[in-house]
Symmetry: C2
Subunit: 357 residues, 2 copies
């Protein structure tokens, strides 16, 4: 936070294309987003935090230093146990650009006048956690973009309840902007364009997560909550050992059907189809980096001339879940900044950010 | 044009979602766009014209009347022969809402203060025809959206040359917003999101156009110009009989490779890949309504973690070329109006209207 004393007004003027963004949470998604953003000069990461540390530099964080200082230094449990340590500080605080703090999100909020967009890459073990984080930005009169990568349908309603508050504050909130919901929701919206009515959207994903497992423990934990025997509350209370036991019971391969993934309500919001016509399922294999099944989006509908058909979008098995989150999350973030600068506030799903008839 | 005497100021105030649009050209694409727009209450068609007639009603055209009055009444040759007639008037003029005119485009331009978007659904037999149409809107101080469904790469450059003029006038010009370029360009941009570098985009289309042939003679003529033995100048001079002879020579099935389709420059504009890495080809069968080959977009690239893969988007064979133009054209039009109202002017391709990293 070596620029904390510098007046931020110098850096608040940007062109349409320049985006200064913050990342809340430096687990797998947060870290990779910082990393991938280096490829785009118009994206400047200016803040990152985890539960114990915050790094802020309005001229742009040194992402390489931050990531290497905090390598393997990730909280995996959403808050119930201490983060791992490397070096004398915990988590983000291990970076020379960071300071320890008890109030990481407030510290970012305090600097948010000079932040265009915030990626909330925090696990959402309590349904209202991300909505409550958004409330804090509203209370601080933040005007800008908030993006999350949440999965559960029910959270969308909680965010929608805040639409008036977001509109008053000037916040453009994009929810579900990861892989699914996110990338695949957008693919469904695009594939739907052949049709005047859509009767079914089937999203089916495969994830091979052997070498990426350590970096994505939070995601795996959230996935387990989708198994019929578990829910988000029970999973939150489970120890890492108990999570491992569930994985072992399934020989490392977990199959999911009828998941509560927000693709359904997000496609309904965009006018593509009814939420009940969307199904999401998939297979997670933590024993291999190979995908156990091909990630596919199938959209079935009827054309203006009365023909029924199914358009299909398939991701190559070589593209990892990680690869399919990074690009879309930053892409949706950029679209949201454009909307925000155009004066469009409130709640948006990925499908609403695509051109749609 | 029964509202011509009415002050247009009553109708110039709209909400963010309401769009009053005009269609230049009432061939297959123009007619179907008018037809499909009926499904969306926020889209109000207020003007339509062909070479000899213009219909304008700022409260909304009666699309059913217009289409039934002009059924089978379509110019197919881009201007070299007379349109067919049904009833005592020619073309659009056969509608009770229309009047005959020698200056159809100027008549629409004269009313353009109350028009948010104009779909230019005219065949582009001279490369600079659509750019010159745009010039006329610029000269008339039109501020709003222009959308075309052109195909040729070289036209994009002519439009880009006009960027300053569009920006001064307040025009948001979307080029290549049909099926390909258009729908498939957008699909390629979306499929590219797994990758940090894209090495190849392959667009391959199939069109079965037996029963739709009469309505799409202009499109077929343009396609023939892509055969190695022909070019746009020679095809423009050919009679309908000569076009038929070419089709017969190929037994009604025309196969195209390395087409000059603007997907290439439009993907480059959006930063997806180099234009030279995009190939477009396909098969047109005018003897059957079945597609002779499946329309497919393949995007090959490398992920942030160094994996190489190919994402694939496939349209069901049951979706006609027509179905794959209507939705995207109107979807891009709506996106462009949003941009225009947000103050973004200049030239945009379909891929630039999608969220993109």
């Amino acid at each position: 936070m070596n620029d904390a004393d510098k007046p931020t007004t110098d850096t608040t003027t940007t062109t349409m294309d320049e985006i200064r963004f913050a990342v809340l949470g430096t687990g797998g998604i947060g870290r990779r987003t910082l990393d991938v953003s280096k490829q785009k000069p118009e994206l400047t990461p200016v803040a990152a935090c985890d539960r114990h540390g915050v790094a802020i530099d309005h001229d742009g964080l040194d992402v390489d230093e931050l990531l290497s200082a905090t390598e393997g230094n990730i909280a995996s449990d959403g808050g119930t146990t201490a983060v791992k340590e490397s070096g004398e500080n915990k988590g983000v605080a291990a970076s020379s650009q960071a300071v320890s703090t008890e109030t990481p999100i407030d510290d970012v909020i305090a600097e948010s006048d000079a932040i265009d967009a915030v990626l909330i890459a925090l696990p959402n073990f309590e349904h209202d956690f991300i909505p409550r984080v958004a409330d804090r930005f509203v209370e601080a009169d933040y005007s800008g973009v908030l993006v999350d990568v949440l999965k559960r349908s029910r959270v969308i309603g909680m965010l929608e309840d805040r639409t008036d508050a977001f509109e008053s504050a000037g916040i453009t909130f994009v929810c579900g902007a990861g892989a699914t919901p996110g990338f695949l929701t957008g693919a469904a919206a695009l594939a739907a364009q052949s049709f005047v009515t859509v009767e079914e959207v089937e999203i089916w994903w495969g994830v091979g997560l052997k070498s990426g497992y350590e970096d994505n423990r939070g995601t795996v934990r959230e996935d387990i909550a989708h198994l019929p025997e578990y829910d988000i509350e029970t999973v939150r209370e489970m120890s890492d050992e108990e999570i491992e036991a569930v994985i072992d019971e399934h020989d490392g391969v977990l199959e999911f059907h009828d998941m509560e993934h927000a693709d359904d309500v997000l496609l309904e919001r965009a006018g593509i189809c009814d939420a009940e016509d969307v199904t999401v399922g998939g297979i997670l294999d933590v024993t291999s980096d190979e995908k156990p099944t091909t990630t596919t989006v199938r959209v079935t509908g009827t054309t203006f001339d009365g023909e029924r058909g199914t358009n299909t979008f398939e991701l190559d098995d070589a593209t990892s879940m990680e690869a399919n989150v990074n690009g879309p999350a930053l892409g949706y973030l950029k679209s949201a900044v454009r909307r925000n600068r155009g004066g469009e506030y409130g709640v948006f799903g990925p499908a609403e950010l695509l051109p749609g008839f």
